[in-house]
Each structure stands twice: as structure tokens, then as C-alpha cells.
């Protein structure tokens, strides 16, 4: 256990865990756009910057991204210095210039007093804030079907060579983790389309509801040893079945499920 001081208060934390995790646990409001517990931090959005110092630094301080900075015993952290507030405000203002139509960015910027971007707004772009959450979650699944390609303003998230991603299994993790909802997909007539690739959908044998794509089911059966019966029925029907088995609760559970 390490002891660190955050905004004047001494708190306990695990040596090596990232500062942002501790800050969040304490309920301190530090914005973060690219951080997510399921994925490795990369520090793209820079919003989570905090000021750190140590007694032996003799007054010297520095700003670091808390999502990437590991807890060290004795660290003194400040999360809301005037400089940090200015940095966050500017960063959100810049994000708003890039994605003027993103509701999430609008809301976050609003909280920092930015109602409209101070900069020259990008009128054509989409709402991708280039946080890499999608590519990182895909990597966690061992697929890396999409990645960030090109440089600078031209940087986009795309499958290799801009073609149908060979390794994509249509799991939707990328679309679901995306904070600004910019990854489109469609489920229609038993087919899912994402990244321009089409997938056969597995449906519930009882109610016909979509469960997962055939490729994702195969992946989970093979790689994660999930029994294949699991993909015969949807979650709701599974619950119903369980309830039935439990006798006395039948009526009530059925009501809930419907």
C-alpha cells in the first residue's frame, strides 16, 4: 500500500495502479475521454492531466496524464490547479472544433464554460475523437482487426488497406465502447454489417431475437471454451427457462421477462 496526497487529503492506493483510478474512486471530477477499465491506457485525450510533485522536488512540479502515471508512495497530486483548468478547457474547445456536432463533446465543453468553439470549426468531419478505444478493445479480444492508420489530420480508424477487415468477427465491441457513437453497424434480415463486412447472425431458437454473429459465437466456443448450447437461446429466454425450473417463481419471473 502506498500513501499519496490528493488535493490535500492523504489517501491509500495500490503501488503501480494508475493515478486516474484512484482519483475516480474518490469521486473527484477529472474528465477523461480515452480511458476505460477494459483497455490499456494510451493518453490520447490529455484531459486527465494532473499536477504532481514530491517533497524532495523542492517546489518543482509537473503535469502528467493521470491515466498513465503509476501511483508512487509519497506523491502529492493536485487535480484542479488554474493551469489544469485552462488546459482542459482548451482541449475540450479543440475537440469541439473538430467535432462540433458531437453531443458528448458539447456537454463536456459546456461544463468548462465553452458553449461554442473559440477556434475555426471543422465543418466536414465526423465525430471521431481519435481516442483509440475501438482499436484497443479489438486488441484485447486478440483480433486487432482495425487500427489507426496514416498521420496527423489524415489519421483514421480503419481496417487494413481500407478493405473488409479479415480478422473482424462482428462482435460490436468497437461500436459499443466508442464514446461518441461513430462506428455504424446494421442488423437486418439475419445479417449484421459492420466495417462493410457482412456476418450471419445467430438467433434465439425460441424467440428469434439476435444473439451474436456466427463468427463471434465460433470464436467464443473455440477460444473461450463457452459451450455451444449457450448460443441457442437468448439471455431473456435463458432466464425464463431458469425461472421455470425453479417452480414456485414461474409466474412472477414470466411476468418480468415479458
Amino acid at each position: 500500500m502506498a500513501h499519496i496526497t490528493i488535493n490535500g487529503k492523504v489517501v491509500k492506493a495500490h503501488e503501480g495502479e494508475m493515478l486516474l483510478a484512484v482519483i475516480k474512486r474518490l469521486g473527484i471530477d477529472v474528465p477523461a475521454l480515452c480511458n476505460h477499465e477494459a483497455i490499456e491506457p494510451t493518453g490520447n485525450c490529455r484531459l486527465c492531466m494532473v499536477e504532481i510533485t514530491r517533497p524532495e522536488w523542492e517546489g518543482w512540479k509537473k503535469n502528467v496524464t493521470s491515466c498513465l502515471y503509476p501511483v508512487e508512495d509519497g506523491l502529492i497530486v493536485n487535480t484542479h490547479t488554474p493551469e489544469l483548468l485552462e488546459i482542459r478547457k482548451t482541449l475540450l474547445d479543440l475537440q469541439l472544433a473538430r467535432c462540433p456536432n458531437s453531443e458528448l463533446i458539447q456537454k463536456m465543453a459546456e461544463e468548462y464554460g465553452v458553449h461554442e468553439t473559440s477556434y475555426i470549426a471543422n465543418v466536414e468531419g465526423d465525430n471521431c475523437i481519435m481516442c483509440y478505444a475501438c482499436t484497443r478493445i479489438c486488441e484485447v479480444l486478440g483480433k486487432s482487426a482495425i487500427s489507426a492508420v496514416m498521420r496527423g489530420q489524415k489519421k483514421v480508424i480503419a481496417p487494413p488497406f481500407g478493405e473488409e477487415p479479415v480478422d473482424c468477427i462482428g462482435c460490436l465491441a468497437c461500436a459499443q465502447i466508442c464514446p461518441t457513437d461513430v462506428i455504424p453497424y446494421e442488423d437486418k434480415d439475419g445479417i449484421r454489417t459492420i466495417w462493410k463486412k457482412k456476418f450471419e447472425l445467430v438467433t434465439c431458437k425460441n424467440c428469434g431475437k439476435t444473439i451474436v454473429t456466427r463468427d463471434f459465437a465460433d470464436y467464443l466456443i473455440e477460444q473461450r471454451r463457452i459451450p455451444h448450447e449457450y448460443f441457442e437461446t437468448c439471455d431473456d429466454c435463458k432466464r425464463l427457462e431458469l425461472a421455470k425450473k425453479m417452480g414456485g417463481l414461474i409466474t412472477k419471473a414470466a411476468e418480468v421477462a415479458v
Binding site: 498513465l68 485552462e86 482541449l91 479543440l94 477556434y119 498521420r151
Partner: protein
């Protein structure tokens, strides 16, 4: 031949020197990038051809040597005849026979081929007396232009691998690190981090494997110091790396070379193979316990790949994107193992420090920036080329004594150092000494050694806009302040050059720059606003002239200038015929007039006028 003891190396060195001395005359033909572009390879071939056909007295075919860049690119193609350092400038293929006949056979100097000082017409025979060379001190460039990079004997004869032999026989790894620390050597790749301390941190970390990497990415457009060392003296880089490997305990090294430098790759590859053959690389180097080998890794040529963490990712075959360096790469570098990364020039300097001692190195330069630094001089300067100066020399000495000043009778306006994310310094900073800390304090930086000189017809806003555009393209695009912030700075600079910006915009740019500097993930973003910040610091009045008066004092920004014909016009019709939009009217021998509504300020008329009859307003 395998050299397996330092003693054998010394024996071989004596043999090499004997062989070199037996060549009574040497003809050094520069095949550096500048001379090559002017056809020096044809000159080399011609020398070989003529000498093959004709048996010249005292001159053998081996006497003709191709070399790497000799430095004075503005005077290329150049040929140097040794002994005597006879320097022939702007040589043509047709001069070759005459050079052989007169200079080589009869010892006569060919006057018309000598370099003559444009100010006083003085002609120099020995290049070492030419002001361009006279004020230089060459350490990292010691062999460039002097040896054939493919011939290891040339390198050996000039003291090559003596530093390596010395560390293997006389010094323990710790002592090598102490020597480098004592020499005060700081990284030549831009950051100026003390090299000895870097090596020490790496050596102290327990790990099964450590790597040594040489950064040959050289992303600054216009800079070519590292290229010339890799092309012209590859063994010096290898020797520096091997010494480092011994000091930190590494078995594996990489040289990261950008794709645009194919000759550097070829020459380094050849040098690596030769070094293996002679026992300078591989198992049991020079018979010692040291085993180390080097591989070349080719980079795609992105500017950001020169940044240390991006470079290591690129070497490992991943996308070259920087990462946060809260854990330093000396601890966790390539493949997460402790890694020393140094610049080409840094490594090339190491063997000399070992050979001549730390005290000797400290005696050159300034107390906090010891030794020398190579620069490439470019832009509005007479003597463009590759130079190396002792640290602490002033900008004025570099630009006027070595660089020969500003051509075409124009005035100096600014000097840009530090590459695209460096800064511009104005005339009243010309007496600043060039060292790491002074340049940084003045709002620029040493960088890897690009130096661009600008004359009075330069617009600082346009300069900032130009470099920002480069950085916007080269930003890896991962973090917000760099990707979006630099883009905004670029957009606002464009607005200013068009006369569309307000003073509030300028204030916004200055505020934004602060965030970009503190919040960016890597050095590119952290120094990215420099082109803007340094120009607005020193040329604020010109920014304001664009904004308030819609005028470009430098006469560059098209939307803000007018070309007007004055009464010096002789009516020669030259401008009239080059104007692409037909904006000029007039008759022969009568004053011409420019129709301002049609004119799009391309400047063609101004360039073609020989009577100074077109003013820029």
C-alpha cells in the same frame, strides 16, 4: 583477414599507412549529395577512364578516391588533390584531363578552378585556408570528404578503431562511462541529454538483454549532417556503437535509417559486413569477451519516427507512434528492455573522445556544451554546405565568417535553428553563442543541426505558417493538443497572411500555444508552437502590420502586397511577356503599368526585371 588482438590492429594500421603513403598523390572526388546532384560521379568515372588509358607518372588508378561530403556544397562538384589540399571547385568532366596533366603530373595549379573569394577575388589553393574551412573544427566530420567510405583501410589509416582497441585493453565498462561523462558530451540529436548519464542509467538496470540503437532518422528537412556521416564515414558510427555496447553490456544493436537515404543504407551495410569480416563486430571482438552485432532497420521516413519511443516501436515492427515516457527508455526501450538511443553524430564523436581523452574534448566548446556541433547551412547564405564548429561560436561568426554572409547584397533578417519545431532568431541575437542552453533560452533550440538563413525578403508569419504546415502533416495524430492545436495555429497563421485575422486571434494563438506545449504527449507537440512563438516574440510588429495595416513588410504575402512599376522602367517588355494573367500593359520603350485588379502578385515580373523597376508595396 581477422584482427583478433589490438596488437594486430596496430600492425595492420602501420601497413595501411604505408600503402597510403606509397600513393604519392591522391585525388579525392566528392560524391556527397550536393556534388553528386551536379554530376560528380561522371567526374570520378572520367578520372578513372583517363588514368586507365594513360600511364601518368606518379599517379596510379588507386589514387582516385570517391569520398563522402566534403562540406562546401555551394562550390561543388569539387575535387581535392593531396598532398597540399589543392581544392578545385565547380569542376566539370572536361577539366579532368587537364587536372591530370597539369596538377598531377607537373604539379601546376590550375588557377581558373580554384575557389576565389567573392568579396576580394583572393584565390586559395589549399582548402584549409579558405574561410569556410578555416574557422571549423571537425570531429564528427573528421573523415567526411577525406576517405573512401567503402575502404576500411582508409578509416584504419586515419586512426579508426583505435578508440575501440583502447577501451578493450585499458578500460573497464565503468571507466568508459566515466570518460564519456567527464567529456560532457551531450546528445547531438536535439535534446542535448548527457550521453554518459544515459549510458550509466542503462548499464545499472538488471536485465537479460540491452540494446544500443543509433538514430539515423534525420527528419529535419534540409538537414543532412547525419546522412553525410553515415554515407561518408560509416565505420565511425559503428565504432561509437561498439564502444557503447561494451560500456552498457549489450550484444545487439540497430541503426535506424530513413528510407530516403538509400546510399547511407548501402554504405552502412557494407561497413557492417567488412567490420564483421575483420572482427570488429560479431563474437569475441578483437579477441576480447565482447560480442556485439548491428543490424539496419529502415524507417518509412516519418518525422515523428525520429522521436525515441516512436523509433523503438518502428524498429520492433509496430506503428511508429510515441508513447508517454514516464518510464524511460533506458529502463524499458526496445522490446521493453533497457536501451540506449543516440544520434549518429553522437556516436561518431565517441571514438575520438576515447582516443584523445575527455580533457581534450572539454577544452573545446563551452563548459556546459563541450566539443563541436555539425550544422547544415541552407537558405539565403553564400556558402551553403556542411560545417562543424566548436560550441560557443556566435551565430554571426557562423553566418558571416564561415557562411560568407547573405548573397545578392541583401540583408540578414533571421536564422532558423532546430529544425521545423525550432525557432527564428533576429539580427540582434546574432552575437549569441551557439550552445544548447543559450539557444533554448532565446526561444529557439539546437535541434539536430539544421540552420536556415533568411534575408530581408522573408515574412516571419509565412515562415511560421510553412513550418506549422510541415508539423501538422508530420504530427502522428494521436494526441489532441498536437493534432488539433497545431492545426489551429496553422489555420490562424494562414488567416494572418491573408490579412483576415484580428488581434484577438493573435491572443488566442498565444494562449493555445501554452496548452500545446504543456499538454502534448511527445516532443513534437511540446515544441510544435515554436515557429509561431519565436517569430511572434521577435517580429511582433510584422504580425501586427499584417493584422492592422494589411501589409506584409517582407513583401511575401500575396494578398497583402502590390507590385508597382517605377520610373526606372525602360519599356523592355520582359515583364509584360512573363505575366501569366496579362496584367501588364505598355509599349516598347514606354513605361509599363500593372493593372492591380488583374494582378495576382505572383512576382514573375519582379524576378524577370533587370532594371529594378518593379517595387513591392
Amino acid at each position: 583477414m581477422h584482427i583478433d588482438t589490438p596488437k594486430k590492429l596496430e600492425q595492420w594500421r602501420r601497413d595501411c599507412r604505408k600503402r597510403q603513403d606509397s600513393l604519392k598523390k591522391k585525388i579525392l572526388v566528392c560524391l556527397g549529395p550536393g556534388c553528386l546532384a551536379n554530376g560528380s560521379d561522371k567526374i570520378l568515372d572520367e578520372f578513372k577512364k583517363v588514368l586507365k588509358d594513360k600511364k601518368a607518372k606518379d599517379v596510379s588508378l588507386e589514387a582516385v578516391k570517391k569520398t563522402g561530403c566534403h562540406g562546401f556544397c555551394a562550390q561543388g562538384p569539387m575535387v581535392v588533390i593531396e598532398p597540399g589540399g589543392i581544392f578545385y571547385a565547380k569542376v566539370k568532366k572536361s577539366n579532368v584531363a587537364e587536372i591530370i596533366e597539369k596538377t598531377l603530373e607537373k604539379g601546376e595549379i590550375i588557377d581558373k578552378l580554384l575557389y576565389s573569394d567573392p568579396d576580394n577575388g583572393h584565390k586559395y589553393t589549399d582548402y584549409k585556408e579558405i574561410p569556410f574551412y578555416r574557422h571549423q573544427v571537425r570531429i564528427s566530420l573528421r573523415n567526411c570528404g577525406q576517405i573512401d567510405p567503402d575502404n576500411i583501410e582508409d578509416y584504419i589509416a586515419r586512426g579508426g578503431y583505435a578508440g575501440l582497441a583502447k577501451v578493450l585493453t585499458d578500460l573497464r565498462p565503468k571507466e568508459v562511462i566515466e570518460t564519456i561523462k567527464k567529456s560532457g558530451l551531450r546528445g547531438r540529436g536535439g535534446g542535448g541529454f548527457p550521453t554518459g548519464r544515459k549510458w550509466e542509467s542503462c548499464a545499472q538496470i538488471e536485465a537479460p538483454i540491452r540494446y544500443v540503437i543509433c538514430n539515423g532518422d534525420e527528419g529535419d528537412p534540409g538537414a543532412f549532417m547525419d546522412r553525410c556521416i553515415m554515407e561518408g564515414d560509416p565505420h565511425s558510427v559503428l565504432e561509437g556503437m561498439i564502444i557503447c555496447a561494451y560500456a552498457v553490456g549489450s550484444r545487439e544493436g540497430y541503426i535506424y535509417v530513413r528510407e530516403e537515404y538509400p546510399l547511407a543504407v548501402i554504405n552502412l551495410q557494407k561497413a557492417i559486413e567488412t567490420a564483421r569480416e575483420y572482427g570488429f563486430l560479431g563474437e569475441k571482438i578483437l579477441g576480447s569477451d565482447l560480442s556485439f552485432d548491428i543490424r539496419i532497420s529502415r524507417g518509412g521516413g516519418a518525422f515523428v519516427c525520429g522521436e525515441s519511443s516512436a523509433l523503438m516501436k518502428s524498429v520492433a515492427g509496430e506503428v511508429g507512434e510515441p508513447r508517454a515516457k514516464y518510464i524511460r527508455s533506458v529502463q524499458k526501450g526496445l522490446h521493453d528492455q533497457p536501451t540506449v538511443l543516440n544520434n549518429v553524430e553522437t556516436f561518431a564523436t565517441v571514438p575520438v573522445i576515447i582516443d584523445k581523452g575527455a580533457d581534450w574534448f572539454v577544452s573545446i566548446g563551452t563548459p556546459k556544451s563541450t566539443g563541436t556541433k555539425a550544422f547544415s547551412l541552407a537558405g539565403k547564405i553564400r556558402n551553403t554546405g556542411l560545417i562543424e564548429i566548436p560550441m560557443g561560436m556566435t551565430l554571426r561568426e557562423i553566418i558571416y565568417n564561415i557562411g560568407g554572409g547573405i548573397p545578392d547584397g541583401r540583408e540578414f533578417k533571421a536564422v532558423q535553428t532546430g529544425g521545423p519545431s525550432g525557432g527564428c532568431l533576429p539580427a540582434d541575437k546574432l552575437d549569441l553563442p551557439v550552445d544548447f542552453d543559450t539557444l533554448t533560452k532565446a526561444g529557439s533550440m539546437m535541434g539536430s543541426g539544421g540552420m536556415i538563413i533568411m534575408d530581408d525578403r522573408t515574412c516571419p508569419v509565412e515562415v511560421a505558417r510553412y513550418f506549422l504546415e510541415f508539423l501538422v502533416h508530420e504530427s502522428c495524430g494521436k494526441c489532441v493538443p498536437c493534432r488539433e492545436g497545431l492545426l489551429q495555429l496553422y489555420k490562424y497563421c494562414t488567416k494572418i497572411t491573408r490579412g483576415e485575422a484580428t488581434e484577438a486571434d493573435l491572443a488566442l494563438m498565444e494562449r493555445l500555444s501554452k496548452t500545446i506545449v504543456t499538454a502534448s504527449l511527445c516532443g513534437l507537440g511540446q515544441s510544435g508552437p515554436n515557429p509561431f512563438l519565436s517569430t511572434v516574440q521577435y517580429f511582433r510588429d510584422e504580425y501586427l502590420a499584417h493584422i492592422r495595416d494589411r501589409k506584409c513588410p517582407g513583401g511575401v504575402c500575396r494578398e497583402l502586397i502590390q507590385y508597382v512599376i517605377n520610373d526606372k522602367c525602360t519599356g523592355c517588355m520582359a515583364c509584360l511577356s512573363v505575366c501569366p494573367v496579362g496584367a501588364i500593359s505598355g509599349e516598347k520603350k514606354k513605361l509599363h503599368v500593372i493593372d492591380q485588379d488583374k494582378c495576382d502578385a505572383c512576382g514573375s515580373c519582379h524576378d524577370v526585371c533587370t532594371f529594378a523597376a518593379i517595387d513591392i508595396k
